[in-house]
Amino acid sequence: MKKSLFDQGYLDEQFYQLEELQDEVSPNFVEEVVTLFFRDSTRLVTNIDQALEKRPQDFRKLDACMHQLKVSASSIGAAKMKNECTSFKEFCGKESLEGCIRSFQKLKKEHSTLRTKLENYFQLLRQVGPVEKAVRSGK
């Protein structure tokens, strides 16, 4: 399952790095990080939503907000999200509100898709249980 996540481009190398960090000391490290990520990124998404509704548009602020989200996305290797963030920022640079809004829609979609997929993933891991390590490497 993880492989598919990677294949489809939802996740990148960074996710592997997180898994490498997981050890006996923090056995649920990856899940903790992902949880943290979604909590924080949801907040950021809300910020951007609000910022988008302001008139007149402050593109610099939008850009800054999106930058934060991009950094956040990079933390777990959320590749698709990251790309969409970049795209959004480009629209900010061009001061195209419409472009920003469209991009943001896509971004939100990616965000929730990823969340679902990862939730499933972790659930699967839990089900697999102690065998997960071996299984995971096979995935």
Partner: protein
Amino acid sequence: MENPLLSARAEAFPAGLRVLVVDDDPTWLKILEKMLRKCSYEVTTCSLATEALDILRERRDRFDIVISDVNMPDMDGFKLLEHVGLEMDLPVIMMSIDGETSRVMKGVQHGACDYLLKPVRMKELRNIWQHVYRKKMHEVNIETHSFGEDINILCNGFEDLEDRNLTDGTELSSVRKRKDVDYKDLGDQELNDPSKLKKARVVWSVDLHQKFVNAVNQIGFDKVGPKKILDLMNVPGLTRENVASHLQKYRLYLSRLQKQSEGNCSGDISADPINTDNKGNFALKSSISIPKESVLTRHVGTTESLTQGIITDVHVREIKRTLPVGVSESKKALVGEIPSTQKASSIPQLGVYLSFEKSAPNVEEKACDPTTPKDFMQYPKQENLDAFSCLTNSNHQASFDLSSSSVTSVISATFTNEKDLNNPCEMNPAPADPRNGHFSATPPVACMIGSVSFQVKHGIVNSHDIGTILKVDGSPSKSTDSYIDCTHNQGCFPITCELSSNSETESDSWPDDLHLFAQEHSNWFKDSETGGEYLYDHFDEYLFAW
């Protein structure tokens, strides 16, 4: 206190490296913390730059390195970087998702020792200890290269001084502590612990300091930053960190001066800014050169409590007026000895001069021609130190008269190498208003070891406050302290010169210890007659500032 811990940490280096991570993104903070812990580092996290600064200020010694994100909500990461460099002089690594050249360059310009791109990899973090180590190596190298035994002597001297002039306990203790770490036998202080090694400092020679101050003034004190200063100074081998730490001290020094000038114009010797401030650092290590026209002059304080001719400590009394001994325009003849016109408390002055043991072959006094600010007073090297004589290269009679009212007094003393018997000593005195206090130094022309020339830019010397302690330490194992006591009516202006001269063998260590302290004075700038140069021509020994 934590000796066992510290040495344990030292042995395990780089394990146990104490890292402060600053990042506003909680996810990254968690990841970085985990990564660093995996490297066996000791990690502290915080999500705000201001919080980070507080933590760092609170326990300066608690961290070896700082890693910070560039984009922070409360403060620009670069600003944090600057602050840390200035105040704590710790290596700082920047991180960002943005790897654009301009950003990276900005980071480097602001003093980052590395710039990591997010997502950060473990292997990059594993290596960060090199920055800590490099810094320490660098500092230790410079330190050990420059300093010799004299430092210990000076240190001891300062310690005594501190004891006597302790007014600000906390300051002193921190300075003292610093000094202790810096100077005292490094071996004592967990030398093996890289975090302690860090304490070694660059030796700021008079010349170097002069450049520094010039740069600062050129930039404008308010806009100054270590990078800018470094660029202007254009000294190869000098690092931004060196400049940053020096700048920090300089600022502290200035602020202290200001505080002092607010209240204390009498010859009261209270806290000795130098003592308390940078004790080990400034006084000893950093030589402060008095910039020609720059504002800052180090203050040199001398304590009145010099009781003996030979004073092993440097007493520095902060005098509001700028230090450079003012040399009045009217010429004054330099007296071969410390003028007795000085206050009684200036007994030491005599000592100063007399402390030179060796007789100077050519001791002459020359009147200084105010128009030729190149006169310096020459201080003989220890072996030849007999008395100070002021020598002017142009055979001018130089008189040091520290006149308080003379804003533009500049005193320069030249120490010449022994080899340079004819080394021009320029005396550059010419206080606008000669006061009763007068500074006279009669350095022998020929110094066996060498001479140190320094120039004190105009300043007002307070008669009773001024005392300059010249301490000359030479390899001949003699420590001579000379005091040049400039007494001045206005009582402000301590000049402390600490000269330690080494024997010939130390020829390459000259820039070491020069302190030239002068107080800043508002009039300072106006007077630029001195335009003198610092003649730190030949330093075989440690410089002193008087």
